[in-house]
Symmetry: C2
Subunit: 496 residues, 2 copies
């Protein structure tokens, strides 16, 4: 008779195979599917979702998780069971009626939002959002009770296991103190510099060739992945076949190029996850924030560094044609431009954390019941003013209605963006300690040691360690925002 552990691994292998089909059909939906396929695809994916939920929450799975004997397992297997338990609890805790109600409310809110945002219709949006918040609070309550934690912590744990509000308050509180001033100093400094903007058009096919050339330089494995186009860049697919996307604008090539570099960071993590335990949870990426740390390591730490920009510049000129704005100093300045704005997804890496802290503070108070949906616009306005010095009065569209995350109740997700940025800076610092000549290597175009270090310290471990352990093993300390601050000061004030 198979052991409880064997039954569990078999079940999770099966789930992983169905997850594979879901990932590929999801990728196809975003990149290839003609509009007419939408409704049938939605139904097919929902049916698969129901099936995966049934398999995961079947009562045997709970029994096997109870029966499994940790003493009979090795380290990896124990880590695997711990991941299985986490995933199972996430799925099994909520009553089906709540899952369904949340899904319906989320779909309704998101669907209406697509019209309400351009119409700047906060009142209409708020009505739907209230239902989503009500159900998310109920979800948080159930998860909080089961985990013996606060409501927001329970949601946070879904995206970033082990992270807590206390730790975030601490870290984000630190950033909040120095960021507005740092931002002002950088903006003042850059106001004295002129930057030329490259003049298009830049043919889509040439931009694609540039993206592919940079992916090659970043050692993307084309035998196990591809680059395509979608409305919003993403990294999808499965570790054996990673699908990244970008979008092209003929007038401006840097967004698409940086999109490719960002998604290549996600992709290399996926492509280099451990292969010894295929389909097992221990083989998967550690968390949303660690995933983002890899994309931001590639895009910000590497991609926007003077060394890397110098490295790719000849390719840029070759494929897009030379022009004055592609002079080296100007090209670097262009990629390091800081300009506070209303929109999160357009933000540079200095102002980005302000967008996140603002959202974190609001969603935290919302879930804990300290504020209500109607309080959001006022808070948004105050925080935007104090953090970025910008006014959003009456501009809901580019204010509290700009993101999709809250519409379907993904509360607890936003912090992972800035956690990722901080981990990326801390990892780069760790890399520098291990490899002091890293900047010289980058200058020579020798990126392999960087990838080797990431592979050994992050990628190969999958979910074997907690985020904290992983980061401590790699850098010698737990999350420390000082490295992110130092990175910003070095790059944007000291020019090093």
């Amino acid at each position: 008779m198979p052991s409880a552990y064997e039954n569990l691994t078999k079940t999770f292998t099966r789930l992983s195979r169905f997850g594979h089909l879901s990932a590929i059909a999801g990728w196809d939906m975003m990149t290839m599917m003609p509009p007419g396929g939408s409704s049938a695809r939605g139904e097919a994916l929902a049916e698969l979702s129901v099936l995966r939920h049934e398999i995961l929450t079947a009562k045997e799975v709970g029994q096997w998780l109870n029966e499994v004997d940790p003493a009979a397992l090795n380290d990896i297997e124990r880590a695997n069971v711990s991941e299985m338990r986490r995933v199972w609890q996430q799925a099994a805790l909520l009553p089906a009626s709540l899952v369904e109600a949340k899904s319906i409310a989320g779909t309704r809110c998101e669907h209406a939002w697509r019209q309400q945002r351009p119409a700047n219709d906060w009142q209409g949006f708020a009505e739907n959002l209230k239902e989503v918040v009500k159900l998310s609070r109920r979800e948080a309550e159930i998860r909080a009770q089961a985990g013996g934690v606060s409501r927001y912590d329970a949601l946070l744990d879904m995206f970033e296991p082990g992270m807590t509000r206390a730790k975030l308050d601490n870290t984000f509180g630190d950033i909040r103190q120095w960021l507005p001033n740092l931002l002002q100093r950088i903006v003042d400094k850059q106001a004295r510099e002129t930057v030329e903007v490259p003049v298009g058009p830049f043919a889509v096919e040439s931009q694609k060739q540039l993206g592919l050339a940079i992916m090659k330089q970043l050692d993307f494995d084309f035998n196990a992945g591809r680059l395509d186009v979608s409305a919003h860049p993403f990294c999808g697919g499965v570790p054996e076949d990673v699908r990244i996307t970008t979008r092209y604008n003929e007038n401006e090539f840097i967004s698409a190029m940086m999109g490719v570099i960002h998604e290549t960071g996600h992709a290399r993590y996926e492509q280099n996850l451990p292969k010894q335990w295929p389909g097992q949870p221990v083989s998967l990426a550690r968390s949303t924030a660690i995933h983002e740390s890899q994309s931001l390591f590639f895009e910000k730490q590497l991609g926007r560094s003077a060394e890397f920009l110098r490295l790719i510049l000849p390719q840029v000129k070759l494929l897009l044609g030379d022009q004055p704005a592609l002079e080296t100093t100007n090209f670097i300045a262009l990629n390091q431009r800081v300009k506070p704005g209303l929109i999160r997804v357009d933000a540079d890496e200095v102002s980005y954390p302000a967008h996140i802290i603002l959202r974190y503070e609001i969603e935290c108070a919302l879930i804990e019941g300290d504020i209500e949906v109607d309080d959001i616009p006022q808070l948004w306005q105050e925080k935007m003013q104090s953090l970025l010095g910008l006014d959003t009065t009456g501009n809901y569209r580019d204010g509290c209605m700009q993101d999709i995350h809250w519409t379907d109740g993904a509360f607890g997700y936003f912090p992972t963006y800035t956690l990722g940025a901080m981990y990326a800076a801390q990892l780069f610092q760790g890399l520098k300690k291990a490899l002091p000549q890293v900047n010289e290597l980058l200058g020579e175009g020798n990126l392999q040691p960087v990838f080797d270090w990431l592979g050994q310290n992050i990628w190969q471990h999958g979910s074997r360690f907690s985020t904290r352990q992983l980061i401590e093993n790699a850098t010698g300390e737990d999350l420390n925002p000082v490295w992110f601050r130092q990175h910003l000061e070095n790059r944007y004030l000291r020019g090093i």
Copy 2:
């Protein structure tokens, strides 16, 4: 409590949704997937296959099929149940051990064949094929007993419900009598004509634009489908989102172009299947031969007609550049060239039936136990000589080892190609009766009445009627090879 019929429709809707995912992931595998994704994709698709088989053969399905009360159903529902029963019997009749053994033997035979064919290794191939034949005979035996029919008829019924060996012997026997002589007369006639071959290169992108332009002319719905590239052209996806493919050769554009026209025929059938009963078997295409009749109607009846070739010629010149070989008469002659050869997939429509009849006679005798695998080469040689006047002695590679169908035991499939060609000719004849001015309409580029007629007579009926009923309703008679013969004589001897 839901009725047995309601339970059945719910189950088949679910199966259809999983079928959707299988179709899209299968399409992706052939068109998009990098090689490294192959093994994980294979496992994921196999897992889904097992699931679909389990759902279909669950004992409740058999019970519901017993319980369902035909008197309480309307015509459509009765046809739906009849299709459900057919699909269920196909899946449920075989013991799991035989399904598995056949799958393993088929995979082994096909895998080795990929090396053995280029190596002309008949002995090696025969060893594996014997196992496949042994298991296919066992399958045929089980299906034959359950259906009270002969062994070959039982297999034939899988691909072409209602078709029998008696009927095929009759029809193919008829063709066998006149085909070699007709072929000789056509070859002699064409030997007196010179045809110029267009000189490339023809850029792939231009060929693709040509394909898309012709698809548009053929009213392909781009809101519900797309055109891509694969090693072998096919039509996949789902009715709401039909994926067709072709392959390009820079030196020769007619193959890719005719591939597109052929697959567009399959696609338009799929895109215009009835939409009132989504996910139900009655909504699906009638049979393999009827599907092929639509692709051949598009490719041969329409696509290689002088009227249609004249219609698309300006597009060809516009996209690929003009040259002497694209002079009208030459372009038509080029697309109507007849040249008997060893390879089935390269055959023109006159010699094609000879390839099929040869295979039919051999596979029939093989399944019924009248011959053994070792007898195949000798029979192939004799039949190739008598049907096409060609010698294949010792050339197994371009003889009995050229096709993939037998490697995984798809005995009973080959006849559907020529049945499709005969149905296509008969349907075109039916269309001419209903619309005597069809050639004038084609000449004017007014194809809509043709599509309307196909839609009303074939597409909209899905699997509501048997193949025989469908053809009789459309053309006033059961399958009659005289129309195919007349079509060949008209086009290739009389030039009308």
